[in-house]
């Protein structure tokens, strides 16, 4: 038993490096709590739609989301989408123009986006995007919450990717007196190094929610991060649901096998 305890402690130590791998200079991130936390957490559908609105009206002016297609938002999307109907998805897609072709004359042409199109990026290429932002490239947001801090589906005691993005969105402050700010950078308490090239994107009432929710900065940040978490792993709800069934099955199986083992071994001395 004592050795078993030792081994368990050892196993814990083995997992510890994952915790230490975080950037030690980064400040403690805010932990606002998420609807998708925990083994039974799901995405709050209303927050998802509000978050998508924030992305569409604010973030998407600079940030692409190349991995997402418009019909991911609809009922056939991974994980059941955001709760939009097929017609709503068509309308959302049709607001954007995409270059298609060549047609039978050999010409490229513009047409409204269809649900099967991927999210139309704000700039035709990274170079154009950099040129518009003083050389800085706004990262693609498809997987942003999975690639920052602890990401998604890491150990619960670590600050997660959603916590990080929320921290960035709400962490803009006036620089402390004496802090030398480089050109075109802003002070952000939750950004490693504190100097971020992104201007504060959110402000109160930068969007108008149709469901009457008051659009404060923390509310907008919380909504858009919920949307980004869905975008990064739309199958998360299915994963957790499947996990519960698999674990129940395995627990019963282990119980039966333990009984079988006891019975078969009963005559061994």
């Amino acid at each position: 038993m004592r050795r078993l305890a030792l081994v368990l402690v050892g196993a814990g130590l083995l997992l510890a490096p994952a915790a230490y791998a975080q950037d030690e200079t980064a400040p403690a991130l805010p932990r606002p709590g998420w609807s998708f936390d925990g083994p039974f957490g799901t995405f709050d559908r209303a927050a998802l739609q509000r978050g998508f609105q924030v992305y569409s009206e604010v973030c998407s002016n600079c940030h692409s989301m190349n991995l997402l297609a418009y019909d991911d938002l609809g009922p056939d999307g991974p994980g059941g989408g955001l709760g939009y109907t097929e017609d709503e998805v068509k309308a959302i897609a049709a607001q954007k123009q995409v270059t298609d072709g060549p047609n039978d004359q050999g010409d490229m042409f513009q047409r409204p986006a269809r649900p099967s199109d991927h999210f139309v990026p704000p700039f035709p290429n990274d170079q154009a995007n950099r040129a518009a932002h003083n050389g800085a490239l706004p990262p693609d947001l498809s997987l942003i919450v999975k690639e920052r801090a602890g990401g998604l589906g890491a150990m619960p005691w670590l600050a997660s990717g959603p916590d990080y993005v929320y921290g960035i969105l709400t962490g803009f402050k006036n620089p402390p007196t004496g802090e030398k700010m480089p050109d075109n950078s802003y002070y952000n308490v939750d950004f490693p190094g504190h100097h971020i090239a992104m201007p504060p994107p959110l402000s109160a009432d930068v969007v108008t929610y149709s469901d009457g929710t008051k659009a404060t900065v923390p509310q907008e940040a919380h909504d858009v991060v919920t949307f980004l978490a869905w975008a990064a792993e739309p199958t998360m709800e299915e994963r957790k649901r499947t996990g519960a069934k698999v674990l129940i099955f395995l627990l019963v199986l282990a119980g039966i096998l333990y009984a079988a083992k006891r019975k078969i071994w009963a005559d061994v001395h």
Binding site: M1, S142, K146, T235, R239, H269
Partner: protein, 423 residues
């Protein structure tokens, strides 16, 4: 040698021409196994099952994956989003690598504790070390395939190690890459080898099992079986025990796959590979951390540059295991009867865990010191302590037979008195 009498005519017809049923009967029903194996002996079969899981999930992933630097990352994300149960198969494969290493490392340390590498099981042990090396190569190349930042930069750092070889090092690196940097040819060949190596492992596992079945399993007492009273047939006793162990293992595995699927991986590998942007820290997967620590810890030694010395230490740490059976001079197998080795064994466990922590940190301040002491101890443990303890230690008296020791324990279950057994 005949197939079991109760079999049908068809079975007997086949068995007379191709004795697979006789073979299975011989290796499962008749195969005598010590009756006192504890739960640490489960990890061998668990490793075999993990290998199978990795091969099966890997083949399904290969059906959807595209080994091209422009498409690899997106094809993996397509598996996660658009392929039916693609997320499940990928998360099993990704976490499976970690769990394969967990069970294999436990399996190795069990062998070290109970002296399973000693006469007549030296080749069995050496084949195991070959499997470990193949696993490491496979895992390393598999990690490159999603073409994230850590894939790319990990591949760059590790392949660059070969440049430490004097004279021909740089040429070897160019040859490995198939170009002048890690690029599409590298990805393609890594994919081909990542598909090939698991089947090489499978072959070596076959030899490992053949060697195992020649003399049978070692056991917690480390003494030979003296007769039928010491052994039980593998089936049903150990099949059911292995199955129960498997169910418990799968529970832990499932918790990670379904609830913490990214806990054991570096989040930065969800960033697409970018050859123009070096990540702030390049860290290998956790199961390589102790070796990575050794690589970085070794300083310049006389005329050998630190880089080459580090590479020698890293590969030497595993190469050492090949000659382990001859470094250990003690005639007693099980640490249970070796009053000094029993404690020294745990020093190695602590040392390897400490090196793992070192590997996860930037080589600064105290981590450099711990890394150097840890690396030094690792080699001291095997090269100096192993031979010396065997000479100076006075082993406790061994029990006369397995059966005598087991009955004396008074437990109803075989091995119930074993101190290392799970509750």
């Amino acid at each position: 040698m005949a197939a079991p009498q109760t079999q049908s005519k068809l079975v007997r017809w086949i068995d007379r021409r191709l004795p697979i049923f006789t073979f299975l009967d011989h290796e499962l029903n008749e195969y005598p196994t010590p009756k006192n194996l504890n739960y640490w002996w489960n990890f061998g079969s668990l490793a075999g099952i993990m290998l199978t899981i990795m091969i099966v999930t890997g083949i399904f992933l290969a059906m959807e994956y595209t080994p091209n630097t422009n498409l690899a990352f997106d094809s993996v994300e397509r598996i996660m989003r658009a392929v039916n149960y693609g997320w499940l198969i990928r998360y099993i494969h990704m976490n499976g690598a970690s769990f394969f290493f967990i069970v294999t490392y436990i399996h190795i340390f069990r062998g070290l504790y109970y002296g399973s590498y000693k006469e007549p099981r030296e080749l069995l042990w050496m084949l195991g070390v070959v499997i470990l090396l193949c696993m490491m190569a496979t895992a390393f190349m598999g990690y490159v395939l999603p073409w994230g930042q850590m894939s790319y930069w990990g591949a760059t750092v590790i392949t660059n190690l070969f440049s430490a070889i004097p004279l021909v090092g740089n040429d070897i690196v160019t040859w490995l890459w198939g170009g002048f940097s890690v690029d599409n040819p590298t990805l393609n060949r890594f994919y081909a080898l990542h598909y090939l190596l698991p089947f090489v492992i499978l072959g070596v596992v076959g030899l490992h099992l053949m060697a195992l079945h020649t003399h049978g399993s070692n056991n917690p007492l480390g003494i030979d079986r003296k007769g039928p009273q010491d052994s039980i047939p593998f089936h049903p006793y150990y099949t059911v025990k292995d199955m129960f162990g498997l169910a418990v293992f799968l529970i832990v595995f499932a918790v990670f796959v379904f609830y913490f699927p990214n806990a054991l991986a570096d989040p930065q590998n969800y960033i697409r590979a970018n050859p123009l942007q070096t990540p702030p820290e390049i860290v290998p997967e956790w199961y390589f951390l102790p070796f990575y620590a050794m690589l970085r810890s070794v300083p310049d030694i006389l005329f050998i540059k630190a880089k080459l010395a580090g590479v020698i230490a890293m590969f030497g740490s595993i190469g050492l295991l090949f000659i382990l059976p001859w470094l250990d001079t003690s005639p007693v197998r099980s640490a249970r009867f070796r009053p000094i080795y029993k404690w020294v064994f745990w020093l190695l466990v602590i040392d390897v865990l400490a090196l793992g922590m070192v590997g996860a940190h930037r080589p600064e301040g105290m981590w450099i010191v711990i890394g150097r002491v840890g690396t030094l101890y690792y080699f001291f443990h095997f090269l100096i302590l192993f031979p010396l303890i065997g000479i100076f230690e006075r082993p406790l008296p061994l029990p006369t037979s397995i059966s005598a020791a087991v009955t004396k324990g008074g437990g109803k279950l075989a091995g119930a008195s074993a101190p290392m057994e799970k509750p």
